[in-house]
Symmetry: C2
Subunit: 141 residues, 2 copies
DNA sequence: AATAAATATTTGTATATACAAATAAAGATG
DNA sequence: CATCTTTATTTGTATATACAAATATTTATT
């Protein structure tokens, strides 16, 4: 059934969740070849761009809770894609060479995903929608 | 950090998920007094409106997988809010009197949630956004 | 009628996420 | 300097969700 056919099509809770699940699934498809999920991927991208980044900063950047960040890092550590260096109460996260070697594939995943949805929704429309959702998200408590 | 300040503000994966989490949290706040979460609530609303509704139909209506529907029903059954009646390979789900007695409170939760976000986003804007997200969701595979 | 295919549901298992509490370190205050 | 408070991170636990496989039932086909 299409979202627009559900009795809850007019409810923001329902539509935002259904939409996010669909987007998640599409993203997952493009990240699957790499062996990790979109959320791990986005965290790893930040780590690659900011070597030594701390969990608190990652939590802010990705808008996830610190505990979720810890769990994501643990997983990436198991796959030998990042390492944690402890220093006092802070933790610094670094990408491994293995992760750095994956950069081209990661860029390909991002491009594939972006191309997929902008082909479906139109490049301007999808940008506009993304922007709009971001703005509305900021307005919510 | 605001969504619009994250480096991923232009990514549909990121924004749709961050947005859904925020909306979920807001909805949760209004459903909490009732003792169940929004997804259980929406399922229960369908059951109240369609006595004897089957899991497959619920999965379509709520755009969740059948296994998720089973899990949601199990939880509501534990709380004595619905009962399952098996008939051959199908299952019919009915709301209990206890659930029916909660209807006014459920309506209040829905109203409270809707009022909250339409106050923040404006009634027209929030309706338009919901509609837009539903439309885009339909376009995705 | 017997077997095969399709359908409905549940179960086993895995994932991402969050909250609350625990831990540990740093800074502030008396 | 000793204690208190704040800050950073992790851990224990719980939730919603999904996929794949199992189960059970109905329908179709030969």
């Amino acid at each position: 059934m299409k979202t627009s056919e559900s009795r809850y099509r007019q409810c923001l809770y329902f539509t935002s969740n259904a939409f996010a699940r669909k987007v998640e699934k599409l993203a997952l498809h493009y990240w699957k070849p790499l062996g990790f999920s979109p959320s791990h991927a986005y965290l790893l991208m930040v780590v690659l761009q900011e070597p030594g980044v701390q969990p608190t900063r990652l939590a802010n950047e990705l808008q996830l809770t610190p505990s979720t960040i810890t769990r994501l890092i643990e997983k990436l550590e198991e796959q030998a894609l990042v390492t944690r260096v402890l220093d006092g109460k802070t933790t610094m996260v670094y990408a491994t060479d293995k992760a750095k070697a994956l950069l081209p594939d990661m860029q390909a995943a991002i491009d594939g995903f972006y191309t997929a949805y902008s082909k479906i929704l139109g490049p301007e429309a999808s940008c506009a929608l993304t922007q709009q959702i971001a703005t509305v998200a900021d307005a919510l408590p």
